[in-house]
């Protein structure tokens, strides 16, 4: 089902209507039905994976909770301290085993489908280095990743680990849990939600109909659809064709294409989030925000706290903390403290964990060395930022640059944007060699005269659409700056209703003109991860 289509509009309208017509207590059943319909509309055969994933995580959480309760009871009955310590140790061991088993069962099918070929291919290459000609079974088998699997598997893992950590009790009603897991606004591109938070929103809130929320939600959906159709989709062809034929172009056009690619992916991903958050807002459900003006970040580290926020938080809670606070991490930290002093000792466990996080983040985006390399580039830059913080501060002092000055802040923002754009060469290219070749080619072929061809770049978009894209990108930047300065809400309030109505009408008109005939369903970029 295309998200910017009459079909999805009808689907959303019917869901909202039924949701508010149903008795308050049973409204979540409408969402469950909508989730199943949404998932089935993308193909019936893959629903079996999400059902199994749901059952495994649901049963594992119940099992964990049973163990935790039994352990607490035994602890209450124990008399001596030694007995209590022994019970605690045994209980923890049991809990860990159940949790590990569930996580393996949840991740295994996802790893096989998403990384099977990558692992087999590289194992074969590794063996051939040792002159072993292994005929690995299954190599070349095309396995299609079911819709949203990278998201719902992580949701399920997060849920099981949270119950293991006793953050909240396990859900007793499977249908309620499955409503969370298959919740269509977050299943294809996130955000990564936590069960306790979304449970509150879906099952416990009052959800009274509100006209104000309906208007605000529709406005956000419209803005999201506009970003998707008038920016992301219109830029796709020009950007892709320019980067694919990079050897025909020089620095100016390649840089221009990569900059526009950054805006394209932002408009695509945040457009989707706006549509889903807007829809949930109408229902009175608050979905976690995934973006906070990422292109205004002053460092790469900050950028990742503003872009795909919930993925970062997921890796922080389920990879960064467990690795950095593991026994190995603690031992390493103590050893480094003795060897290199307190500061480095303190950071070393964190950096080890960060390395794991970026390995996972890279691989999560795709089974390709390019993504892994892209992850490590981010890791190296973030690592150097923290390690060289004092050096940078001294350099700034020597150059008499005030850290708080507008000029310095603007420089930092542009520098971060440039770095992120350079990294994109790797996530965009089929292999690392092509990415490096493109960068080297761009740097060695300035072709400044191509500046005049930037206009030609837009001819691929179509003369009429150039204005739409330009206005769209300008609006995107202005809205982000206003949000950053916390003035966006004021601007919206002060805007006369007639102007607002005209703007919405214009956006709607553009959507009607642009959307038909375009296969917009094909590529919400993050749905492919």
């Amino acid at each position: 089902m295309s998200l910017v289509s009459l079909h999805s509009l009808c689907f959303a309208a019917i869901t909202v209507l039924l949701f508010f017509l149903f008795p308050k207590k049973h409204r979540w059943l409408v969402l469950l039905a909508a989730n199943v319909y949404f998932y089935l509309s993308y193909g019936a055969k893959y629903i079996v994976f999400i059902v199994i994933c749901g059952l495994v995580s649901y049963l594992a959480a119940l099992w964990l909770e049973k163990r935790i309760a039994a352990g607490a009871q035994r602890l209450k009955e124990a008399e001596s301290k030694e007995e209590k310590d022994e019970l605690r140790r045994k209980g923890l061991k049991q809990k860990k085993r159940i949790c590990a088993l569930a996580v393996i069962l949840l991740l295994a099918p996802w790893i096989v489908i998403k990384y099977g070929n990558f692992i087999l291919e590289n194992t074969g290459k590794l063996l051939s280095v040792f002159r072993i000609d292994a005929k690995l079974p299954g190599l070349g088998l095309v396995l299609v990743l079911p819709l949203g699997m990278s998201f719902y598997v992580f949701h399920a893992v997060g849920y099981v680990v949270d119950v293991y950590r006793s953050k909240y009790p396990a859900e007793k009603n499977f249908l309620k849990y499955f409503t969370f897991l298959s919740f269509f606004p977050h299943i294809t591109e996130g955000p990564f939600s936590r069960y306790n938070e979304l449970k509150q929103e879906i099952f416990e809130e009052e959800h009274s109909f509100s006209y104000e929320r309906l208007c605000a939600g529709c406005a956000r959906i419209l803005w999201g659809a506009y970003k998707k159709v008038a920016i992301a989709d219109l830029l796709t062809e020009s950007v892709n064709s320019t980067l694919a034929a990079y050897s025909d172009h020089g620095f100016v056009l390649i840089s221009f294409a990569v900059i526009l690619y950054s805006f394209r992916i932002y408009a695509d991903f945040s457009g989707y989030m706006d549509m889903m958050c807007g829809f949930c807002h109408i229902l009175g459900i608050r979905l976690s925000e995934n973006f906070r003006q990422p292109f205004l970040a002053k460092t790469v580290d900050e950028y990742w706290r503003r872009w795909h926020i919930t993925l970062g938080k997921w890796f922080r809670d389920y990879v960064f903390y467990p690795v950095s606070m593991s026994k190995t991490g603690t031992k390493l930290s103590k050893w480094a403290r003795k060897k290199w002093g307190a500061r480095t000792g303190k950071l070393i466990a964190g950096h080890l964990a960060l390395f794991f996080v970026w390995t996972c983040t890279g691989l999560w985006h795709g089974a390709n060395w390019t993504y892994l390399f892209w992850g490590y580039l981010n890791f190296i830059v973030i690592l150097s930022t923290t390690q060289l913080e004092e050096v940078y501060a001294r350099m700034r002092d020597k150059l008499h640059i005030r850290g708080e000055s507008f000029g310095w802040k603007a420089f930092c923002v542009l520098r971060t944007f440039a770095l992120i754009s350079i990294f994109r060469f790797f996530s965009l290219s089929p292999d690392i060699r092509t990415a490096l070749d493109t960068i080297v080619h761009a740097l060695t072929h300035p072709r400044l005269w191509e500046s005049s061809l930037v206009l030609n770049f837009f001819t691929n978009i179509g003369e009429k659409n150039v204005l739409l894209t330009d206005v769209g990108i300008a609006a995107l930047i202005i809205v982000d700056i206003l949000c950053e300065k916390q003035k966006w809400e004021d601007v919206k309030k002060k805007c006369p209703p007639i102007v607002r109505a005209m703007l919405y009408a214009a956006m709607l008109l553009i959507l009607i003109i642009c959307a038909p005939g375009k296969d917009v369903s094909a590529s919400f970029i993050y749905a492919n991860f």
Binding site: R316, Y321, S324, L347, A349
Partner: protein
Amino acid sequence: MEELLKIMSGIREDIDFTKETKLIDDELLDSFDIISIVSEVNEHFGIEINVDDLLPENFNSAEALYQLILKMQG
């Protein structure tokens, strides 16, 4: 409490830990700060705060963390 405040201020001297009560909710502490604090607190107080204890309610203020330390020592 004095010792804990000293440890926390040593890691983030720009934060007034006697007043802040939303260290996690307002994202004043980042993940590196948290693991640094945990590592120092574990060593100094001879306890073992582990990843399961990393709940916002335990780290939102110095007082909350102090209560966690007392609970673990008890």
